[in-house]
Amino acid sequence: MLDIATAYTKYSFLGNDFLTWLWCIIETDQDITRLMASKEPISLDIGNSLVLENTLGDKSKEKITIKGDQAGLEEGTTALKKGAKVTEMNLVCTLGKEAEYTFTIKGESFNITGLKPPAAGKDGADDEIEGLVLEKAHLLFRITRVIDTLFLAYLTQRTADDWKDNDLARMRAWIYND
């Protein structure tokens, strides 16, 4: 394995490209359940924020933040056309019938903030704390498995022979509204 600090900088683009691909998957209504080969239905939506970054000619950076529950994301695709990349995304993920998670994920670090898993039951007596811990832990590991599976699915597509003709062509068509 490479030195961690070197690897972090060198491969930070992997996470950002993944978020861009994921945004396209969501916006073009692709079947995420099938993509993840999941036994239970999984749905994903863009939540209340999307952050893009563009490196300008003079090497300064331009940050584009789109916020709000009903915010239009056209400014985001415009930014993609100019070379911006998605660096952070708020997502709403529903597993099964009603287990809804919201969270924000950062592309380069995969740090998760603002994570709200489904309610894990009410506060009870001390002897119920083990139950609460187990349930909460289960919920957290469940959502991180979803993120990991999606990322690895992206990498599988990204390194497939037909990447250019399939996924990349679809992304370009979506960005440019072809």
Binding site: D17, F18, S109, N111, L115, K116, E130, L140, R158
Partner: protein
């Protein structure tokens, strides 16, 4: 944000290697050995150590468990003294005035001011109580996954250092590259293909 809070921040780790034997006992020993001291040290600016999840301010691992089903759950507490600048200015002004009166002079030299500042900082540092920050840790030993419930860089750096010292196991921060290397199950050839990728550009 505590583990059972409604909203969480999460930094993820993969734990390299395992204990030779008796993981529960080894974890217990590591937690006890590097627990945060029960009594605050007046002279330390920063103090850090493990504490039970259910008792962050009374670090007693005999009384409180760190085992919850298949998980280890405990906390890292980092106590830090922080002296407000305005308080320093106030104390310095008072000490400078005292010095002027005592010496009968109207001015205080730069060196004398430095000495006064050092003395004021020392006194305030001893008097000031530490401010505790508690970060919960959830460890699934079987799957080698660990969550630290903060994304603060300094807290994570403290965690990595003290974890290695406590358990002699290396925590590897999970980000895209390390996820590929530690969790993907990809073949060596596939990993090589991934690691030769370059950023996508969508500019026409």
């Amino acid at each position: 944000m505590g583990f059972l809070s409604t909203t969480l921040s999460v930094s993820r780790y993969h734990i390299e290697n395992t204990f030779d034997s008796e993981p529960m006992e080894q974890v217990r020993q590591g937690l006890v050995k590097h627990a945060i001291p029960k009594l605050e040290n007046e002279y330390e600016e920063i103090s850090a150590g493990w504490t039970p999840y259910e008792s962050p301010y009374l670090p007693d691992f005999e009384k409180f468990s760190f085992v919850f089903g298949p998980y280890f759950l405990f906390s890292l507490r980092i106590d830090k003294k922080s002296i407000p600048a305005k308080l320093v200015h106030k104390q310095m002004a008072m000490e400078i005035e005292k010095k002027k009166e005592k010496s009968g002079r109207d001015f205080i030299s730069k060196n004398e001011k430095s000495e006064i500042k050092e003395m004021v900082m020392d006194v305030l540092m001893h008097k000031m109580p530490s401010i505790p920050n508690v970060y919960d840790i959830l460890w699934n030993y079987e799957s080698a996954d660990l969550f630290v419930f903060t994304t603060q860089k300094a807290a994570n750096e403290f965690f990595e250092t003290i974890f290695l010292k406590s358990f002699n196991l290396k925590p590897i921060r999970i980000f895209p590259y390390t996820l590929v290397e530690t969790k993907s199950g990809f073949s060596a050839a596939q990993k090589d293909r991934i690691l030769t990728l370059t950023p996508l550009h969508h500019v026409r």
